[in-house]
Subunit: 277 residues, 4 copies
């Protein structure tokens, strides 16, 4: 993956995932909040389940394609792990990336099984997601040995987003449907996506001069840059959330209002969904 494209590709994936999740959770939350005003057509349990199954399938498919690409691309290891001729491990980096995809594939499979068969407890999909992100961070953590200072630094910054997501997904096991945690996860996914692009631009600038990977000022700039990416990710997620909320509300308001006077905040945790599926 030592190339600009190798970082832009996962960047695109995570950006798309972040935006997709923001849309999904915004629609669901807006529909839940306006339940008493209009119909729940937009987010009936059956349609939610269909969406989850679709999402899991896409995730599984992408992970599978990713694994194949890492193995059988031009310079891939082609499933050979150990080069017995020269007595060294073969293409460990590709194998590591394939392992990362493998865990996202497992998370997709688990989610698929959960939403199709109801055999397993619902919260398992978040746990699998948490494990997938944790595994990604875990492999990155031991991936950085012997690289130059700035290279290590930009990847370490990435770990904040990755381990942050793992933690948030783990918290969601206990607070499922909490919109705050869901939006935080969306933000961190978007941040991870845009930061992959940034890593590509810093380490393999497609045009313009190379960056000095040992300059401390570059390191300080990159740190600040990470904050800006976070701010932009927050902005994107909130604009999307607000737009969708407004659209859903205005569409639902056109249906005749009923029992407006009975509007009452639900007891208990007011941000939690009521058993979505």
């Amino acid at each position: 993956m030592g190339s600009f494209k190798g970082h832009a590709l996962p960047g695109c994936f995570f950006l798309l995932a972040g935006i997709w999740w923001t849309g999904k959770y915004s629609v669901w939350h807006a529909t839940r909040r306006n339940k008493s005003i209009g119909s729940t057509r937009l987010a009936s349990r059956a349609s939610q389940r269909r969406l989850e199954i679709f999402e899991s399938s896409v995730m599984l498919f992408c992970a599978f394609v990713g694994m194949l690409a890492e193995q059988f691309a031009a310079d891939g290891p082609k499933l050979q792990l150990y080069d017995f001729a020269e007595k060294h491990w073969d293409q460990l980096t590709n194998w590591q990336h394939a392992t990362m995809y493998l865990f996202f594939g497992l998370a997709g499979t688990a989610s698929l099984i959960i939403h199709i068969t109801e055999a397993a407890p619902l919260a398992l999909d978040r746990l699998m997601l948490a494990i997938a992100f944790f595994n990604e961070g875990f492999l990155f953590l031991y991936h950085l040995h012997g690289r130059s200072m700035l290279d290590v630094h930009v990847h370490q910054l990435l770990l904040y987003a990755i381990f942050g997501e793992a933690l948030v997904a783990f918290l969601e096991v206990f607070h499922r449907g909490n919109i705050i945690l869901e939006l935080l996860r969306c933000t961190l996914t978007t941040l991870q996506g845009s930061w992959f692009w940034q890593i590509g631009y810093v380490l393999y600038p497609p045009r313009g001069p190379e960056w000095d990977l040992k300059d401390h000022n570059n390191m300080m700039f990159v740190t600040m840059c990470y904050s800006w990416h976070l701010a932009i990710a927050m902005l994107v997620v909130s604009v999307l959330y607000c737009t969708i909320s407004c659209v859903v509300r205005s569409r639902l308001k056109r249906t005749p209002p009923m029992e407006m006077g009975l509007l009452k905040p639900r007891e208990g945790d007011p941000e939690s969904e009521d058993e979505v599926l």
Copy 2:
């Protein structure tokens, strides 16, 4: 910001914020606890909302002024990020401080939108505050490279307060209105404010001799000094809290008491507010 004033200014801000918050939460908590005795005039939902909007506006305004000051002050970068002539980043420190202000501005904006429009879930303001503090700590963390021992140490001690506040604000997402957490946040804000003053005195003593920045005894003294600041912050917050509690109670007692016999601790989490807004 390498000056006494540069540390005294944020110190004042955080001191004021800590005292303001202590006052606000004490009044609200005291009013809630004495609900059955007197009226809820002091903390009706409408007045609470107005207060929140006022607070958010002030926060947004200060953050905006702060950003402008960092950019357009005498030696500011004037929105120029890269000095193409000399090929280095321009005034990175000012840019970092502006970034910190930016996040507090975003937190203020989010809080404003939440309390004006009800478009977003209530707990979001605490999450944004947590992210703003986390970002402040994050930038400070990578701010310290190559400074002398005592300089690094006093800033590291600051991080305890900053990351502590981020954690407490994040916990408030789940335990909103828990007076213990609110007072803890007030204490840490006051501590942060007074510690900024202390940093100013240590690194840029306005009068008297310079401190030896490499003496280990100074470091040990400064560590202990931090404990004292914490103790004083705890004292200030508790005295304020007790005074306000007493005043509110005595004012409410003058109104005719009603249903005293029905006083009963609420079920569930007895420290939580009942949906303030």
Copy 3:
């Protein structure tokens, strides 16, 4: 324990424990979920208690045998702690392993007392388990001084599983009967077991050439290998869980169904057991 067998033995224990726990929790969870369909014969409170007492006894017995073996095996310290003749500590490694067994023995004893006498609160067995795992990790942590790079690394990876289990068991004190946490603990136990085998193969290969303990590529491969062990542990646990769920459901369905129409998800935490014992 510096031998292949010395690592294979605990590996077997943890593998068996992981599989046993998976079976136990799967049966209980499946029976609870299908309560309204069939009888609760399979997991009545009395039989659950008998199972817990049996499990605790086995745990206590194994820990006791383990301690004796460490002390009185061929090159054991035979309860002598200090060699006064040569003025050095005697066989500290054996003593440390005996200490690890001691804590699992204590956990077993506590569990035994809790389930026989009801003298102590139920959640104590999870706390004792958490402490036993924490102690195991704690002793391993200070066990690694002065070893070669790969040796340290494979043991550090083990710590992820051990401290992870300690954390999960501690969380179970508050979320007892949460199937997600229980399966996570099973997975980590299985992972720990299979990783002990892997450590044995890496450090004391029973056949084939020695591993180069200083090669960085070996370290990267071993890290990835840990991910694979995790994936396999997850697979084993989920296959077991699904099989048992299906078997239990099909056996329970043969009994005449009753009150199917009244099936309703329980309120509150939907994954928690309802007071198993």
Copy 4:
């Protein structure tokens, strides 16, 4: 405090505190559990409150005496902080110990005010305790510069108990009256007490030869020794708990039993107290 007595004294305090707390919480828990069998004479709210006030007063008194002793003992600083003649800080170690006592004094004062006046929320006493322990650990953490390896190690091990207690006390803010957390805190307090004695024996052996502070084997032995102290602390706390439970139960059984048939586990968190005070 560089002496055997200087470590034995706090050791005694913490040992006594650990045993006292174990007794207190065991009696309360046993009385609560047997509420329906006999009277609640042993743990009526009034007597519990009196006990808490007594405990807080003793804590405040000890902290005050401790501070005075550190200041005005033979070689104390006598309230002089800076030696202007020789231009260095005076007796920083004594000042640090006085600061530790100060925070326990503040915790005692807060607890006293809470239980006398009801002005402040109940959970504040646990928060103050958490802060007092955190402050103790915080000062120890920066206390260790430039000492020999074993000296640093034995104090680092102490930090596990101290920060562990701070964490448990903080958790009690949210789970007040959870007997598991209370007993864990008792265990850690006892551990801290006995480990202070061990530190005294290792660093300032009252008789016998000096320890080699640079020997790695000593370090490994000391680590294992810490586990044993933990095991002994767990044993002491559980024996005390069981004895007291049995005594309370047998004393309560002699009063005529009532509504035995109605014995039912309470809903919700079965380990939590029902608003003790």
